[in-house]
Amino acid sequence: MVPVAAPTHSFCVHLPAVANFKLKVKMKFVVKAWSTNGSRARRGKLNMDGLEVDTPCLLLATRKGLPHFITPDLLHSLHPTARAMQISPLHFWDCPSPSTVEAIGGVHGMLSMPEYGFIAIPRDSVSCIPDPGRSTKFGASFETPFGHRMAKPVQYMESICALKPSLWSSLPDEVPSWVSDKRNRISVDRTTRWLDDCLAMQPTGSESALGAVVGGTSIEQRERSASEVASRNVAVEVLQGVAAGIDLFDSTYPYLLTMGGYAMIFPFNMEDKLFDNKASNVEVSDIGTDSVKINLRATIYRNDASPIMQSCSCYTCQKHTKAYINHLLNTHEMLAQTLLEIHNTHHYLQFFEAVRHAINVNNFNMFSSWFVKHSGSNL
């Protein structure tokens, strides 16, 4: 699992960040289709707590379990595959207490979302950012809007046991790729040690741990980390885990676009006619609109009575116009963020569906080249 900021030209292989998560238990994950022609892309089915998701799969970014601006009633109808959510235990560091979380029924009970999958990962790229400078041998440090938070394995697992997520990652010592070799080695050592600590404290009978793999850009360190993880009975083979074949993606891309007032519009359907000419117009790109996204704050949209995308079936495109969203952005109404997050999440999920389909029909390489050609460079 890789924190992916945007679709890249080889979205199942590229590892822009340094932490990489592997799946522990083979029987809950089944590969349904492999690619030939040298690609490592694969289609799979992941079963967690009875919820079955098709992979490669997008995990929706959340803040305390819910998307930033989408209430659960609107989330439910967002998209059929909007069922797997990323959650950070660090969001609940201050409250509620683990005993209260347990009393309310863990994350599923607290959010009243029994039919959803929650994957607990300590970091997110928005409000819980790893702070390697402050991490020590005792625990990992994170920067949050409310100050620094130190997570030691004991506290982390106390939270995991209370939350009872569908899957959870062990605690990594995440470092950026430019650190020294020595710091990289230390990161692998700590992460491995903390994996042991976490596994020792996991809820009994649970087989839902994801071992965190770190090691920066050093293949050697990653192999060392991965093999350490694999030797602790993580099912997926080391080679595939290190190179391509990533199955789960968490991403803050829809959220970041939303906060900027952008709507995602890149095409992902090869059968669609080549994309609206307006978007590839040079003047239009001056306002931050390109073939990937449109800038709804731009005045050209103030009287545009069309939806963001005619072909989009999301709530926002079915019910509202670009003119209205432009107005909401200008008047600083929160409904703008709600409507944009709905559309952007829906669009991104549709993209993942297209990826899965391409792997299914063994067309993945062609899909990738087509996508690169039509998305332009502003990714």
Binding site: P96, I104, T331, M334, L335
Partner: protein
Amino acid sequence: MALRFEVLGTFNRARAASLTLPHFRCQTPLFMPVGTKGAIKGLANDQLEEIGCQIILGNTYHLELCPGADLIDELGGLHKFMNWRRALLTDSGGFQMVSLLHLADITEEGVTFQSPVDGKSMLLTPEESIQIQNKIGADIIMALDDVVKTTITGPRVEEAMYRTLRWIDRCIAAHQRPADQNLFGIVQGGLDPVLSYAIGGLSGGEEKDSFWRVVAQCTAALPDDKPRYVMGVGYPLDIVVCSALGADMYDCVYPTRTARFGTALVPEGVLKLKHAAMASDCRPVDPTCSCMVCKRYSRAYIHTLVTKDPMGSQLLSYHNLAYMMRLSKDLHNSIIEGRFPEFVQGFLQTQFPKGDVPQWVCNAMEAAGIDISMCCSPFPFSGNS
């Protein structure tokens, strides 16, 4: 006719009615959420319909500033712009001017103010206010009134009352769409009982005892077959009292504004979700409420969100508006079903379990002919309550 008002049931002065507007058939008494700039903060249309919202109020002043009435008109009116299928009401723009623009000056011609955009001197006349509202296209539009603070006394009050009457005539003359937009007149006069008819300008911090008396005088004097709208009201208790006295429609920013501060409206009064005690409280915000928020979440979870995450405001706004819609429905149904006094008694007993019902409420209920002696201490039957 842009409006049909049919009283379906009464109890003394209180009435339950059907208010048929071009876009929606409403039931009164009703509360109208304020969608200042064309949106209720954080809530989508489907959600507003789900909780039973019938009419939304839009502020003419803000809408004219942004995006502008001409643009709204170009795009087919505010209903189409917002994609709201039910009813809309716009105010005249006068109140915001007086309250937001310090240098507003009122003359016979209209309200002179400094444009917030470029500081130029601008004038809002009754004719212009109506023109703007005609473009916006709401089901109900308000006449421009000469607004005075209720705390003002003396000749200014009388001047305001007469000027408002002259302005109503000008508004009527300027109204271009009487067939699909209903014009409401606002009567002014501060709190001076001699001048009466004041249902506008009452939400500015006046004493409650004066407040209810003015409402009572107005409802007594205004015709029975037309709806009575008390602007800027308000707290659930105020709405119950005014309904008992014969008012039908209300608007206020209170439910959504207080949600943003982490306060929920509950039958007992208010619940401050920010409070440390909420951090471990596993009960729903309001156990008697069946809204999405109360069915799903505990106080502990909402406590985690409030004042820290926008989702907290969204969820509490949702609940608070659901609460106000439920109150509206309860008022309407209890009058129709002949149990209005019992509803009022139950409401007061829940809000004031110790029997400390404020004196002004007792005075108002007496005028309304509703016996609430069992709600006030010392309780008539002493012993264990």
